[in-house]
Amino acid sequence: MSRETTLLVAVWAALMLLLAATVAATFAPLGALKPVLNLGIAFAKASLVFWVFMHLREQPWLARLAAVAAVAWLLMLIALTQADLMTRSLF
């Protein structure tokens, strides 16, 4: 295997390990930490796919920014709707 293919297979193996970890976390008694962990793992998987499979590592930084900008905007949508929902019962 060339170095490139080794890398690709290694990324795949990491993804599978993360999948196993997230399933394990679901059945572990983690309480409120569980969704945080599961989402964290999802972000880790997504980052691996974007960085290697989706070639972000080969791109100039502006293209990288273009690829992930939407995530920042999505977080704004979620954060501000939550700002409404979480404080509604406060008064």
Binding site: L62, A66, A69, A70, W73, M76, L77, L80, T81, A83, D84, L85, M86, T87, R88, L90, F91
Partner: protein, 543 residues
């Protein structure tokens, strides 16, 4: 094309207009300039359709009883007016016509990054437009342009699904255009055309494109959810199941507030060009205006909750949204100051483009300031859902954005067609538009403040005088909008050849012949100077 000018001047004979006369050569073109013309014709059509709806509304409001239309008919008239004006005229108006035509010319490129996607975008627009026309023929919708649930999902009996499909489809045309502009501006600038040398028109279109690609998909998915709730009885926002209709409003305004910046940012870009060309002077505070565009695009995403102050949103969230809405006005204000400062001690020519730009600055300022009032929680409780709000956004969208559209039309018409129109008539129509506009909408501020709610056609008799004034203004405004159609089309055949640079303006687009050749530039231009490189700026720089 029926309005094909007789191509007589040497420039015209080798221009993009001469590259094929068949209908096919237009409908299958990938030339950004021709696609711009296709858009210009189609949005003009929708402008008239929506204008007729507005005429019906204003006629109906002449009398307090609303004698002309039924309740249902009135609801359908204002819904159609809003939907068509917003999505089929105003959002595509400046970007898809002037943006398409000018962006490659201004940055020294042969075309946009993805010419075929550009054509596809127009076809998608037309497809969405056909759905709208279908809805129009079969009887319309009555939800308002905002489609609030549960009205739209459970109670409205108009053609909600068909119109949702229309708006969904036209959204993809927005997305493709935005994507194309972003990549074009990044990758196709001519050698030497650094970011700091870009005309401000480009900066504002870049900011607009960011909003187009980031906000429009959220509208698309919101409409999908709405349609599946109405069609398949999914419970997404259904209060009976514990669902929250306010979530619909959150998603809708996450798109629709930024969408108002989709309409105003390109207009601001136009004004920067018009003002500096009229003053023959470098724009004052170039980087402030450029960065203000980006700031508006970013912060504009964080203020949507100001539409939900009295809808049951948490008061804490409302306070945050109120504060952020005040913040977003700062970059807009910066631009107004800078345009004014640009005119100061300029070598000014009072041509039609400048008159439209002045109209824009004045009306936009009023619209923006009343926006600030609305963003204050206490005032909004009083005037929410009244004519005050209607007047606020019409000052910005019609007084501002549509005036800028007409300004752009008068400024670049000689470039696009190669012919000069009558400047006298241009000045007259700019004046009439300004006067007619104020007569139409200023009374609405007072009406709203006195408590006349929007979206009802029956009102207490004491409001009649102001309503009659407003309707009178509307007829004047309608006439003033039709006027340019005549002298501009007349100029196609009979106008004097414009020459490459009739306004003595700076900018790469004025270095090409009018109308420009098919590939824009004989050789790729090399740029070695900043934008707005007017002699006056140099003189004052020398002291």
């Amino acid at each position: 094309m029926t309005a094909e000018p007789a191509l007589q001047t040497p420039e015209e004979k080798v221009s993009y207009l001469a590259a094929g006369h068949s209908v096919r050569s237009w409908l299958l073109t990938t030339d950004h300039k021709r696609i711009a013309i296709l858009y210009l014709i189609s949005i003009t059509g929708f402008f008239f359709i929506a204008g007729i709806a507005a005429a019906l509304i204003r006629l109906d409001l002449l009398t307090p009883q609303g004698d002309l239309l039924t309740n249902e008919g009135y609801d359908r008239a204002f819904t159609l007016h809003g939907i068509v004006m917003v999505w089929f005229f105003l959002i595509p108006s400046i970007p898809n016509t002037f943006g398409n035509f000018l962006i490659p010319l201004m940055i020294g490129a042969k075309d946009v990054a993805f010419p075929r996607l550009n054509l596809l975008s127009w076809y998608i627009y037309v497809l969405g437009g056909l759905f709208t026309v279908y809805v129009l023929i079969v009887g319309g919708v009555d939800t308002g342009w905002t489609f609030y649930t549960p009205l739209s999902t459970m109670f409205a009996n108009g053609h909600v699904i068909a119109v949702a499909i229309a708006v969904f489809i036209v959204g993809f045309s927005s997305i493709l255009t935005g994507l194309n502009f972003i990549v074009t501006i990044h990758k196709l600038r001519a050698p030497g055309m650094t970011w700091g040398r870009l005309p401000l028109f480009i900066w504002s279109h870049y900011a607009t494109s960011l909003i187009l690609v980031l906000a429009t998909p959220v509208l698309a998915v919101t409409l999908v959810l709405l349609a599946s709730e109405r069609l398949f009885h999914l419970g997404i926002f259904d209060p009976a199941l514990g669902g929250d209709p306010l979530l619909f409003q959150h998603l809708f305004w996450f798109y629709s507030h930024p969408a108002v910046y989709i309409m105003i940012l390109p207009a601001m870009g136009v004004i920067s060009e018009l003002v500096s060309a009229a003053a023959h002077k470098r724009v004052f505070g170039y980087w402030f205006i450029a960065c203000a565009s980006l700031a508006i695009a970013a912060v504009g995403f964080l203020v949507w909750g100001h539409h939900m102050f009295v809808a049951g949103q948490s008061i804490y969230a409302s306070a945050i949204f109120s504060f952020l809405s005040l913040v977003v006005a700062v970059p807009s204000a910066i631009k107004v100051y800078n345009w004014t400062a640009t005119l100061y001690k300029g070598d000014i020519r009072i041509d039609p483009p400048l008159l439209f730009a002045m109209a824009f600055i004045g009306l936009f300022t009023i619209g923006g300031l009343t926006g600030l009032m609305l963003a204050l929680l206490a005032i909004d409780v009083h005037v929410h859902d009244t004519y005050f709000v209607v007047a606020h956004f019409h000052y910005i969208m019609v007084g501002g954005a549509v005036s800028a559209f007409f300004g752009a039309l008068h400024f670049w018409w000689p470039k696009i067609t190669g012919r000069m129109y009558s400047l006298i008539w241009g000045r007259i129509s700019a004046g009439l538009i300004f006067f007619g506009f104020n007569l139409t909408f200023f009374p609405q501020f007072i009406l709203g403040y006195l408590g006349m709610p929007r979206r009802y056609h029956v009102y207490p008799p004491q409001f009649q005088t102001l309503n009659v004034l407003s309707s009178a203004g509307a007829s004047l405004l309608a006439a003033a909008y039709v006027l340019p159609f005549f002298y501009l089309v007349y100029a196609l055949r009979n106008g004097a050849p414009a020459g490459p640079n009739p306004w003595n303006a700076a900018g790469l687009e004025w270095t090409t012949p009018s109308p420009p050749p098919k590939h824009n530039f004989e050789t790729t231009p090399e740029v070695d100077r900043p934008a707005y490189d007017y002699p006056l700026a140099k003189r004052s720089a020398d002291g």
